[in-house]
Symmetry: C2
Subunit: 192 residues, 2 copies
């Protein structure tokens, strides 16, 4: 998606350790007008699938998922990363290893919000090693529901997540795929 | 807001310990069509203020804030509850006591996303004792920016947060104010 690639080139910052900071428009400050264009694009890409629910994970996937859900006219469920008194009843739980927080955590969805008949589109802001998305897929599969696809804002194409998911036959659509980035020059190459 | 009150009466569940569960449409599964109506209402209530930024807190405020921001045509910033490698540079930090997680945590915003010239609308899903909103106000004030108002989906009118904030002259608009709720009968009374 040209608009997102241009924005990443303009405002993304390449940091040591393969970190791409897009916090000025994607995952700390959020440009909801851009999210609207991204939501339209996700809808164009997945409108052939009978999606009835969008699943994402707190926190930075929520904004993108909610704006996209307006085009699909379906509810969003976000997986939680910690227990709280607001989580009761039976739950699906999967383990996820976080790159940004350097720890393993649970992702949790109340069973009542994922049903066997659900056809789920997973949306998240980043795809790198794919652990978060794999955890969300585990939750959907535990419910006996169908993963209709995975929609990602920014994929790090030089990490393994996208390749692994696609090799399992999962339809993954990333709006921007970073092929390489250079922390010295700040240059970013996208997959065409 | 009648639509939200009706939805809370229909799908909200009153639990022991003054817990109101609205997880089927507000803060675990999210009804984005309802969020659209709520966003329009926030805009109607605050359109007279020259808001140029919406501030919320992860995770359950983000969806409501992003949908509302479409009507204001402004970006959203969400305060983070934990450090990560995505947070670098200078930060504003405030302490918040969580009722739902039973602990004290930091709320953090990168300084570059709150500036002295900003006119901020704070949006969150719940207002009870007001600690989270007070933490967000601390962040805005630390930046020398202006709090134009506080928009809340569900206020627990029988707890102190709303009264305390309003007594400080802060404009707080809650789309539904629960006056009382009965865990035995499940009955919910709203402030008129």
């Amino acid at each position: 998606m040209r608009l997102l690639e241009e924005r990443i080139r303009k405002d993304g910052i390449v940091k040591p350790g393969n970190v791409l900071k897009v916090d000025s428009f994607l995952n700390h400050q959020m440009d909801v007008e851009l999210f609207g264009e991204m939501g339209k694009e996700f809808y164009r890409l997945f409108r052939d699938r009978k999606v009835n629910k969008i699943l994402t994970i707190e926190a930075s996937g929520i904004g993108i998922a909610c704006i996209a859900a307006q085009y699909f006219q379906v509810p969003v469920v976000f997986a939680k990363k910690s227990q709280s008194i607001n989580l009761d009843g039976e739950q699906y739980v999967a383990k996820v290893e976080s790159f940004t927080h350097k720890r393993v955590y649970d992702v949790i969805v109340a069973k009542k919000f994922l049903k066997e008949e659900d056809r789920v589109l997973i949306i998240d802001d980043f795809l790198a090693n794919g652990c978060a998305v794999a955890g969300l897929i585990d939750l959907v599969e535990a419910a006996g529901a169908a993963v209709e696809g995975v929609g990602i804002a920014v994929e790090k194409g030089f990490q393994d997540g996208g390749r692994l998911l696609r090799s399992k036959g999962i339809r993954v659509e990333s709006l921007a795929i970073v092929e390489s980035m250079d922390e010295r020059t700040g240059e970013i190459q996208f997959r065409s």
